[in-house]
């Protein structure tokens, strides 16, 4: 059922203004190219869902694509703040951003509930935290056997899940490995899904219990080599740590941020164009 198509067509056909969109990938395999394409196509009023909003959401938020953010940890990992996220929350620029805030355990449970067809996920969490007071999607229930108080988090069922993976075969079966985060769950929880991949191969030849998304749960597969940059794709290229550091400067001021995004994202046709324009070489994978 998966269609192998260009990222531009996939985004044009599957993501609408106002959608709940989850771009997942925990440090690894972050779908940055897809984030750029959402910006290029000018999507608006998105509810963005993600465990760890980092650069990919800093860009989407700074470019005014998001109305609402569902998340658990928003920073530039190992570097510091996300300046565009902070500007939106602290000063409402480019416009105010509504927050639906979870812990990692809570948001992960909400994805698992979504993938499992359950209306809520259960966890022994949030006790004593101020988070539930600010998030109506966290409630508490009693165990019918022990009376223990447990947290219930409303299931997340995105309109569109977007992930990056290492490989797909020609039918659209997707194989990812290494740090797999909640990618399988978000695809299964979503109504539609877009998977960008490093390459399309004839045969996956995956290990028996590999993390595979069968073609019939994926809506579109888009070959986008380097599509995770500055995140990494295990087996293909390493994390571009220098870019994460550089981003701290690029994103600090509104003007420089806008100029950078206009020049390298809005003015380019696709991800290959972006990489050329920004002068990016994918870091070779260092295997110790």
């Amino acid at each position: 059922m998966a269609e192998i198509t260009s990222l531009r067509e996939a985004v044009a056909g599957l993501v609408r203004d106002g959608d709940v969109v989850a771009l997942e990938g925990f440090t690894h395999l972050i779908p940055h190219a897809a984030g750029h394409e959402l910006i290029r196509q000018g999507r608006r009023d998105l509810t963005l869902v993600r465990m760890t909003p980092d650069l990919v959401y800093d860009q989407l938020i700074g470019m005014g694509c998001a109305r609402r953010l569902v998340f658990a940890w928003g920073g530039n990992p190992g570097v510091g703040s996300l300046h565009r996220l902070r500007d939106a929350v602290e000063r409402g620029w480019p416009h105010p951003l509504e927050l639906v805030e979870h812990s990692h355990a809570g948001l992960a449970s909400a994805y698992v509930a979504g993938a499992s067809g359950l209306p809520f996920g259960l966890l022994d969490g949030y006790h004593g935290s101020d988070l539930p007071a600010h998030n109506p999607e966290i409630r508490f229930i009693s165990c019918p056997f022990t009376g223990r108080r447990l947290a219930a988090v409303k299931a997340i069922r995105p309109d569109v899940a977007i992930i990056h993976a290492q490989r797909a075969d020609r039918r659209g079966n997707v194989h990812l490995w290494g740090i797999v985060g909640c990618q399988k769950e978000v695809v299964l929880a979503a109504r539609r899904s877009i998977v960008t991949v490093e390459e399309v191969v004839d045969e996956l030849d995956a290990p028996p219990n590999a993390c595979i998304l069968p073609h019939w749960v994926v809506t579109a597969v888009c070959p986008v080599p380097g599509g995770a940059h500055p995140s990494y794709a295990q087996g293909y290229y390493d994390r571009d740590n220098a870019f994460y550091l550089a981003w701290d400067q690029i994103a600090r001021e509104r003007e420089r941020f806008r100029a950078w995004m206009e020049r390298h994202v809005l003015a380019t046709e696709d991800h290959a164009g972006f990489l050329r324009s920004a002068g990016i070489t994918l870091p070779r994978e260092r295997v110790a």
């Binding site: 101020d130 769950e185 994390r239 740590n241």
Partner: protein, 260 residues
């Protein structure tokens, strides 16, 4: 007196010493990664590192810049989905030590990593909870590491992201949390531990070259000292050498000094 080591180094080494060999340590984002990986190179080669991104039994040769670096996945015994880390391994009661950093801490070891100021219109929006609330709830004990600054050690948190001992005494037990709570707070000035009865954090050790007054000046509440306050043993040469080697290899790999 010019010391042969920095307070940052003392902090990392003092923290590393608290990690027993063979323990299973859930490594939070930031400073904990340095200390945990240092411990593995010193007295605790069999310290099991679990990262919230999914690696179990990671044995990185350089400090990761993030908690999801490829180095962690490549060197792990296995990599599981993120939700499994939280459900089976943390909530399932398999973690001995939860090791956290924080932006703010109060006298009862409660943590704030969410906002400075009001939640709805914050002065500073911090990254948020991440794994911390449940790490601190379920790990058998928690270690917290942060620089000792008055803006961090506050009389009153702007937001309670993560519960330590709540308002002290048996409040944590009454809340039903299964993990034991903060066991140590490690700073660049000394060590704090909870008073057995009140659960207020008290200074139990001071790093060499640090005065009591400096700790008092950098703590936002009238800080108490234990009846007997130890002086942290200064870094031993092999500790310093291991830490500096780790940082040097990290710098060579990443083009920058550390995983902080």
């Amino acid at each position: 007196m010019k010391l042969a080591w920095t307070r940052e180094e003392m902090m990392a080494i003092a923290a590393a010493r608290l990690l027993p060999d063979g323990a299973v340590c859930f490594v939070g984002i930031g400073l904990p990664g340095v200390a945990a990986n240092l411990a593995r190179r010193l007295h605790a080669p069999d310290l099991v590192l679990v990262y919230e991104s999914g690696p179990i039994g990671a044995k990185p040769k350089v400090l990761p810049l993030s908690i999801g670096d490829g180095e962690l996945a490549r060197t792990a015994d296995t990599v599981v989905p993120t939700h499994e880390i939280f459900r089976y391994w943390l909530q399932g009661g398999r973690i001995d030590i939860g090791f956290l950093a924080t932006a703010q801490i109060d006298r009862f070891g409660n943590l704030n990593t969410t906002v400075i100021g009001d939640y709805r219109s914050p002065r500073v929006r911090l990254p948020g909870a991440g794994g911390a609330p449940e790490i601190a709830a379920h790990a058998r004990e928690t270690l917290v590491i942060l620089r000792h600054q008055r803006r961090a050690f506050v009389e009153r948190l702007d937001f309670t992201t993560t519960v330590g001992y709540l308002d002290g005494g048996d409040a944590r037990e009454r809340l039903g949390l299964r993990g034991g709570g903060p066991r140590w707070v490690i700073t660049d000035l000394g060590l704090m531990e909870p008073d057995p009865a009140t659960r207020e954090l008290v200074v139990t050790a001071i790093h060499p070259g640090v005065a009591r007054a400096e700790i008092e000046a950098n703590t936002g509440w009238p800080v108490r000292f234990a009846a007997e306050v130890a002086t942290t043993p200064a870094p031993r040469p092999e500790e310093l050498a291991a830490l500096r080697d780790l940082r040097a290899r990290t710098a060579a790999a990443h083009g920058r000094p550390s995983g902080e």
